[in-house]
Amino acid sequence: MSEEGHPKKSRRHRSATLLACAALVLIAEIGSPAASHAGELNPHDMVLLDRLTWGINASSAAHLQAVGTERWLQEQLHPVAGTALPDGVRSQIEAMPDVHKFPFDIAVSFDQQAKSANQVADPDQRRAAQQVFQQAMNDRGKQAAARSILRALYAPDQLRERMTWFWFNHFNVHQYKANIRVLVGDYEDRAIRPHALGKFRDLLVATLHHPAMLRYLDNSDNAVGHLNENYAREIMELHTMGVGSGYAQSDVEALARILTGLGIDLRPEDPQLKPELRPQLVREGAFEFNPARHDYGDKTFLGHTIKGRGLAEVDEAIDILVHHPATASHLSKQIATYFVSDNPPDSLVQKMAQTFKTTDGDIAAVLSTMVHAPEFIGSLKPGTKFKDPVQYVLSAVRLAYDDKVILNTVPIQSWLNRLSEGLFNHDTPDGYSMISASWSGPGQMMLRFEIARQIGSGSSGLFKPDVPNAVDQPAFPLIANSLYFNGLRQTLGPPTLAALDQAVSPQDWNTLFLSSPEFMR
């Protein structure tokens, strides 16, 4: 842990406000004008905001108050097309080279770079070339994480961002397998986010066609006579029906056979095919259905006979999976676990599953059923849902800086990695745990307090662009603001208030507030 401490800033603040209480009064007086004349926030709305967004802050609270709860919910469930990111965010994303290229071209150029690095004759030079290549891939992964974090912090369509994280985690891929670092940003931006509030079938199909998934779960190696059942199993176990929901090993094998031939091809020329197979070839970017690798035999899948005929078998199998009642229940339970509690009420899950079935898997409709259900509304009490590390860190940064856009996401990326919930870093396909006990152990709590101290003590590198010779822009986390005095303070218990009273500086006060049991929830 670095011992930076920003001594200059600390002194400035200490000289202004030697006593903690004096500091609070001062900060309260300069609180943001947007909410300065707002009345007290009701606890229900504060919890709702925390529950469905990446964390409450003064501007989002003011907006919710201005439009009212139901209209706010509709805005979140059905965001208008092209909901704008703030300029300061858009310009940072636009500056990233990958967003202006087709992922296929990026993958091809990396593939070529890898090949030429491997061909260098001199071993030392080869190793150096390979390191350059690996570093370039790392940079792509870092950029993708930066985009993800900027959107999570500042996108007005917050619920879509929460669902983007949720679905990425549901259809998890690990960036350090093969070249997935190059693909992961596109996977999130084009396979996940556009469908995060749409139809589940579209989402499943988009992941199934994406090279990141085909590589990660080895389906690019799945061919007739060389069956690899890895992806087939996880589609059933994790992505759709859920484990123990009534499929057998024979169904896994049948689905694996159905998926033979779906893979990745970065070569410009088409594969060599017998003339009668040529019409069956499908290529879309890096995705390829290669009929020569497909098992054209008939299959029995979940009691259905599927005639062997090529890529159309996959559509048929997807229909069977998406319409299976176990899929509606499994997905509803996952969503409810993420937003409501470790053990969401069965009655709530059933209502959501019912909506899933009647709307043909419309995710926004399922979420609407959830947020309007009495079980959900009844759960909107302070302190009921423990934050996972991503939510913890992002909510702290949103609260501390509100709409002042950070210039560097690398500190956030490393905090998330330290807390074991780094973006794109879960190596197994089950994704990160959504159960609170996974994140509240002693070691985890210690790390949170360390990170609370880093976020609370100064700008922590968030306002120093990630370029050589960058200048750190002045910034300080302003947590004891109008939102605090008009709302959050009322949710704190006496032990926390007593500890905050003993803070010796604004930095210390921030650290304690972000370490408090109330802010963990």
């Binding site: 842990m1 011992e3 080895d218 190696d221 061919a223 006579g225 060389h226 069956l227 690899n228 059942e229 890895n230 199993r233 176990e237 484990v243 123990g244 090993q249 330290r418 807390l419 074991s420 190596d427 197994t428 089950d430 745990s433 159960i435 006990a437 996974s438 994140w439 509240s440 152990g441 002693p442 070691g443 985890q444 709590m445 210690m446 790390l447 307090f449 360390e450 101290r453 880093q454 218990g493 032990p495 926390t496 007593a498 500890a499 003993q502 210390d508 650290t511 304690l512 370490s515 408090s516 049991p517 963990m520």
Partner: protein, 397 residues
Amino acid sequence: MNRRDLIKAFAAMAPLTVAGRVWAAPTTDARLLVVFLRGAYDAANVVVPISSDFYRTSRPTLGIAKPDVGNPNSALSLTADWGLHPALRDSIYPLWGKREIAFIPFAGTSDDLTRSHFETQDTIELGQAVAGSRDYRSGFMSRLATELTRVKPISFTEQLPLIFRGKSQIPNIGINSVGKPGVDDRQAGLIKKMYAQSELASSVSEGFRVRDDVYKSISEEMNAANRGAVSPRGFELSARRIGRLMREQFNLGFVDVGGWDTHVNQGAATGYLADRLGELGRALAGFSEEIGPAGWRDTVVVVISEFGRTFRENGDRGTDHGHGSVYWVMGGGINGGRILGEQVKVEQANLFQNRDYPVLTDYRSMFAGLLQRMFGLEAASIQRIFAGVHPAELGLV
């Protein structure tokens, strides 16, 4: 309670170790470390059935050659039927000669047939029957800790694993990322007060206690490293630190290591799996070195994985999810140098569902038998840890 102590001393002092009696605090402690290889390691290529022709025909590209002193890539001879992967030559194989390691083939979960990593890892960590409703707040090492006195448990993981969840708060620490704490004692005191009445009170107070203990131990090691010692990395670094901490401060530990899910190009005598094994072997040898000769005599290390892999290689020079695995039991005081548990000839007719090793030794029976002997636990204690389980008599300790 019935904490029983020594391992080696057990045999010598047999008349004193009457079940149910409590003896004075021993001078040395029995210590247990469970190492979970997450991802289902390919057991058949690590403890190799060298006498099986079926093995050779099932693994045309992955098979490890029969022991042959002239071939460095051949298996290392264990018994007439079994050989060890050559990547373990310098680390684990010497322990076999010293009878400090035993292998239990055909081990695993007798009642979990999902072939799902996550489901079966959960099953093993919970140590509860698959049928019926399972209590996800009760892992078997947590239940073990409750049965022991003077127990100092810890999970060397970034997150508290299921195996250690339970009534009392078990500390966890990510052992490779320990640094100087920035939260000072005054802040720690205030934070503990904020949590005093919350349900996370014990998590937070345990956290601060272990944080300071571990940092002290690790900073000594870092000072040593600065004086020119070669620093190990990855799991070897973890295991060495764990050895040091279990020598001094903890006696019941858990650690996991991933990366074993080898569906594609896993390699044979060399390659991906061999590299992982080499690291694992160096790590475990490093652990025994750091815990020291005295500590090692009283320590048992059990290496497990959620299931084995398909006996036949797949079309991608890898292996898919299987069933039976091979468990390792190591320690300075164990009765090792043996292949233990019920066994069958490795041939097609004996495969489970014509694809995997069968499970002939259930993980709970194995642990129950081991824990009973190691700690001198009564039958009732064992039943509280593994309900309805008959302890396996493997004669390990």
